[in-house]
């Protein structure tokens, strides 16, 4: 596979530039969509990890606990991994909060003899430990502590977040594997078409005593270059999409403000294209007898 083969591959690619452009574009579109899927999954993960930062478990305490008993509960909760912050609200503070919420209507409570509200501890959670099951387990554990009357947490919200994350991972994975298979097929059929188109030339070469790999080398190079070209094109497209088109989209959809892109994507795509191209060529070469 010396310079001679490279020269042949390049000049043949130029002669067949239309079909090669079509193939490279097919691959570029495929890689672009894969990249979009990767970006989607990536961003859903980021968003769903940010959301639980504001998410907490509220622990309601029984009435009449001493300060040291509250301390004890505090300590027991803090021992759990995933617990980040603990905020204690006394019975009195709870009442003040309720009064502030009722605003002008606070005379509603003027006749109260006893404060009916319980003291509580708000438990802030570390992002990475917030999953459907782990939060539920933590809540049960805290419920079992002496002095705790009730535990409340956003069970439903958590379920929704979890299902969005799972759904995006499932859909993304499905898309990515389907598209990868489609791309290998594109490279495969591109090279196979090249083979068929050059059937006569290949026949002539074999009659002149060329070995298999002498004939195959330019096809491998061509397949690789087409894949690489497709990858570079899709990198450019993604860059253009993220840095230009995306702003317009974000302007009309405020939800997308948190969108971001791992820069590695830009050089992973040409590499992936190259590999897909070579893989497709190898399959095509291996399957064609001559």
């Amino acid at each position: 596979m010396g310079g001679y083969h490279l020269k042949v591959a390049v000049s043949e690619m130029w002669r067949e530039r239309w079909i090669n452009l079509l193939s490279a574009l097919s691959i570029a579109v495929g890689l672009f969509l894969i990249a979009l899927a990767v970006l989607g999954v990536y961003n859903v993960k980021i968003v769903t990890k940010k959301l639980p930062e504001r998410f907490s478990i509220t622990v309601f305490l029984k009435d009449g606990l001493s300060a040291s008993e509250v301390q004890e509960i505090n300590r027991a909760i803090r021992k759990n991994p995933g617990v980040k912050t603990l905020t204690y609200t006394s019975k009195e503070d709870a009442l003040k909060d309720l009064k502030a919420t009722l605003l002008d209507s606070d005379y509603v409570m003027e006749g109260l003899e006893e404060n009916p509200l319980p003291a509580s501890i708000a438990v802030g959670l570390r992002r990475d430990s917030v999953t459907d099951s782990s939060v539920e387990a933590l809540a049960r554990k805290i419920e079992g502590l002496v002095g705790v009357s009730e535990v409340e947490y956003g069970k439903k919200l958590l379920r929704v977040i979890e299902s969005v994350r799972k759904g995006s991972e499932f859909a993304g994975g499905f898309l990515i594997s389907a598209l990868s298979a489609a791309l290998i097929f594109v490279c495969y059929s591109t090279v196979k078409i090249l083979f068929y188109r050059k059937k006569e030339e290949i026949e002539t070469l074999t009659l002149l005593g060329a070995t298999r790999w002498f004939i195959r080398a330019p096809f491998l190079i061509e397949g690789g270059l087409i894949g690489l070209g497709g990858g570079v094109l899709s990198s450019l497209a993604i860059a253009a999409f993220v840095y230009a088109g995306y702003r317009k989209l974000a302007a009309s959809v405020p939800l997308m403000g948190a969108f971001s892109m791992p820069p590695e994507l830009l050089y992973w795509m040409p590499l992936t294209g190259l590999c897909l191209g070579v893989a497709g060529s190898l399959i095509a070469i291996g399957r064609i007898k001559f």
Binding site: E201, E203, T204, T206, L207, G209
Partner: protein, 223 residues
Amino acid sequence: MDNIMISFDGVSKTYGHNPAIRNISFSIGKGEMSFLTGPSGAGKSTLLKLIYLAERPDSGTIFLDGMETEMVKESQVPWVRRKIGIVFQDFKLLPRTVFDNVALTLRIRWMHEDDVKPVVHETLKLVGLRHKADSYPAALSGGEQQRVVIARAIVGEPSVLLADEPTGNLDPDTAAGVMRVFREINARGTTILVATHNRELLKSTGNFIFRLDGGSLTEEMFQ
């Protein structure tokens, strides 16, 4: 057997229901120059294809330089073919320059690029096409294309040269020039078999002439 280059022993070849070669036996000695003639569709090209392994016989055995062709392994075929120079009846030129077409024979053998150039130009001069080295086959006249094919066949100094109607597109003078080249190569030891209708080529004396008709060898004469 040592001095036999090509030998057929009861060889037959049928395409579908159409027999092209029927039970043919003959042999050609090393360093000989022979001719193959016969009407259109007699089986001349098929006979040559059997020698260069483009077709396999239905029955009978063919020996090439002491090897039985049926015994040649698939992976060995390229090396056998590199011993043979072929002037195809339908040219089979690639859409590359004349130089690249002729150089192909040498590049296939991994000859160094520095050595390729002088050899190719030398051969092109021999067939009178030195000035067409950078042309593409599509921009050549029929006779010029045929001479490129001849150059490609002889540039590798093969031990066997098979020429299928090599002068069909050449005027008598150019054809005579090509025959002179063939005789030179033959004098240096190459075994040559020429399939042709050209009676003037056949008139040149001192060679075996095989005559095919309807796939059978009808005449074998020494002139």
